[in-house]
């Protein structure tokens, strides 16, 4: 498929690539919300609450542990979703 001349300089070229970009922009938004949002910008506000079932101030928890757990979830979700997308477009490596 890539032996044809490059498709015009448009980065939004193929359907596969557009779907990938949409997925990763969505996940980067989650990434930024957990760390820069909850862990930093909203930290003082969220500290008025505790993580349900524990004694963690919520903003502090996001900054020191919660965001890391969110990061792990994002990476595995992306890997899973992309494997599905590869299959759908028949782009799996043999």
């Amino acid at each position: 498929m890539t032996s044809s001349p490059p498709s015009e300089l448009q980065d939004s070229g193929s359907q596969y690539w557009r779907r990938n970009i949409r997925l990763l922009l969505g996940l980067l938004a989650v990434w930024a919300t957990a760390s820069f949002g909850c862990g930093i910008l909203l930290h003082h506000f969220l500290d008025n609450y505790t993580l349900p079932g524990s004694e963690y101030p919520l903003g502090f928890w996001f900054a020191q542990q919660g965001s890391i757990l969110v990061f792990i979830a994002i990476v595995f979700y992306y890997s899973h979703a992309m494997s599905k997308l590869d299959r759908e477009f028949d782009l799996e490596e043999k």
């Binding site: 498709s7 300089l9 980065d11 996940l27 760390s35 993580l51 004694e55 792990i72």
Partner: protein, 560 residues
């Protein structure tokens, strides 16, 4: 058996393990030497990446730093893990598909420019050497403290071990020794943490202990905030740094992490694109085990320290206090001569009499908590594993930058496979010796230079790689212009505040209140901006390069 006996035994056993693994997995070709033959299982690679990434600083210093910084220490926790999200989504799968050996390989090929390649080589070598001297110093400190040899002997022993398996085994040897080192270091980190968690908050899971409750019914963190307030320290859970600075430092550490060559290159070693995506997730899991424990250790250790020491009589101090005083990491100066230890913060009227070095928090924690001798010795073996595994990964980047990028791709394209492998071994050996020399004669500004390494990786590699993958129009002029703008701005700012005029390095003088540690973020934005503007004035890359970009974006396609 005493602590020293246990230390010798455990360190000797762990070294024997590493050497055994290295002999079983030595490299026979350049492909094996640079990327372990490209056949590493994603979970194994994740574990090796975790050991590669977690350095002596992560193991020995991070929990202690958080202990003193409280909330402000979150920049390390979020920064050094959040970068893996960027790596998984923006870099690792595409660089795996590109399928060559190094970062300069990609930069040079993608931008069709040997200038860009050379800039990347210089950055890779500089960043890696900065880091490796810190590791060697860590090896020296741990060996000298626990085996009671002098630091130089300690560094030489460490060099010998790294020399053996990095020069012999290349990436293949390093990968499997790093797996063994991960097991040693995580075991050594978790055992004292579990003991502490049981002791302080009565739970065997230290990660949960951070949100736990002390014996007297007060939550651990609330108790710590009260202690801090009484003694005049800033609140533990709120911190004292400006929000904008926390924001920029976190972003610089994240993008810097994603741009560090010794981490990226690990994802060249797995068989497929899909494995590269999954492998980043596993790496993050293995890293998170330690990184979610560190803030708990920090809070335990802080509470322990304040309760054991503050306001108590100097003569009543336990044995560990005097022992660590001898190392100079702990010092009491009885200013008012009352025989008590006043440990107070900047908001208190009572002058502070105690200075505590942050490294004590992990190294002496088992002693402070009264744990058995073998646990104390285990910490020594763990610290060594962390330092050695990181050092080996970095040395390999230096060696491949010299033998592959500089010799094979720039100076002597006709070099034979056998000669290239020999050149790789010689440059790895040379790099080990140079790193050892820096370990014995530390430049005295290692801590400052680390800010440099991250700032540089964030403001040069990260944007140049991301644009190379996500923009087909980005060309040589844009990339080189962006790198030069990003690096010179970042380097200039750090040089000014860290070396030329360190006395003026206060929040009032910083631009927008951003400290030199966080300036890499601004440098990165500048890089994107400059590249985005000036690439318009030059033609797009050749058809061949554009086809290559299409190929790295599609996992199953075959043309390069």
């Amino acid at each position: 058996m005493d602590v020293q006996g246990w230390s010798i035994l455990l360190i000797a056993l762990s070294f024997a393990l590493y050497i055994g693994v290295a002999i079983a997995s030595r490299a026979g070709s350049t492909k094996e030497f640079y990327i372990a033959g490209g056949g590493v299982h994603p979970v194994v690679n994740g574990m090796a990446t975790a050991a590669d990434w977690m350095s002596a600083a992560s193991f020995i210093s991070m929990a202690g730093a958080i202990s003193f910084m409280g909330y402000d220490g979150s920049v390390y926790l979020m920064g050094w893990t959040g970068g893996y999200v960027l790596l998984a989504l923006l870099l690792a799968p595409y660089l795996r598909k590109f399928g060559k050996f190094t970062i300069p390989d990609f930069v040079g090929d993608r931008y069709e420019s040997s200038t860009a390649r050379v800039v990347a080589i210089v950055c890779a070598i500089f960043v890696s050497f900065t880091y490796v001297s810190g590791q060697m110093q860590g090896v020296g400190i741990v060996l000298s403290r626990f085996l009671e040899v002098d630091t130089t002997t300690g560094v030489v022993i460490g060099m010998g071990i790294v020399f053996f398996y990095a020069v012999l085994g290349g990436m293949k040897g390093i990968t499997y020794t790093q797996v063994a080192q991960y097991c040693v270091l995580i075991f050594a980190y978790m055992v004292p943490a579990i003991f502490l968690a049981l002791h302080m908050v009565d739970t065997p899971i230290p990660q949960l202990g951070l949100g736990g409750t002390l014996e007297n019914g007060t939550p651990l963190l609330a108790n710590l905030n009260n202690l801090h307030q009484d003694l005049g320290f800033a609140s533990y859970t709120s911190g004292s740094r400006a929000t904008i600075d926390v924001f920029f430092i976190t972003a610089a550490l994240m993008t810097g992490t994603a741009g560090l060559p010794h981490v990226i290159v690990r994802f060249y070693t797995v068989p497929k694109v899909r494995d590269a995506r999954r492998s980043v997730g596993w790496a993050l899991v293995f890293i998170a085990i330690l990184y979610t424990t560190a803030p708990a250790i920090a809070a335990f250790a802080r509470t322990n320290l304040l309760q054991t020491v503050s306001g108590q009589a100097y003569d009543d101090m336990p044995e560990w206090f005097n022992k660590w005083e001898k190392t100079g990491l702990l010092a009491h100066n009885d200013l008012n001569g009352d025989g008590l230890i006043q440990y107070t913060g900047p908001n208190s009227d009572v002058p502070n009499e105690l200075t505590v070095h942050k490294d004590i928090m992990v190294l002496a924690n088992p002693e402070i908590a009264g744990l058995p001798n073998w646990v104390i010795a285990l910490v020594a073996a763990g610290g060594l594993a962390a330092a050695l595994s990181t050092a080996a990964g970095l040395l390999l980047v230096v060696s491949s930058a010299v033998s592959h990028d500089l010799l094979k791709r720039c100076l002597m394209p006709d070099i034979s496979e056998r000669d290239e492998l020999r050149a790789a071994r010689i440059s790895a050996g040379f790099a080990v010796c140079l790193a050892g020399w820096f370990g014995v004669h530390p430049p005295g500004f290692v801590a400052e230079v680390v800010a440099f390494a991250f700032g540089l990786a964030a403001s040069s590699f990260f944007p140049v790689l991301v644009m190379g993958i996500f923009s087909k129009r980005m060309n040589r002029i844009g990339a080189i212009g962006g790198m030069i703008a990003g690096i010179s701005f970042t380097a200039g700012y750090i040089l000014w505040f860290k070396f030329i005029s360190p006395e003026s390095s206060t929040p009032e003088n910083w631009w927008f209140g951003i400290s030199p540690e966080g300036i890499g973020t601004l440098g990165m934005l500048l890089n994107f901006l400059v590249a985005g503007v000036i690439h318009r004035f030059a033609p797009p890359p050749s058809n061949e390069t554009q086809r290559m970009i299409e190929a790295i974006r599609a996992p199953g396609s075959t043309t390069k």
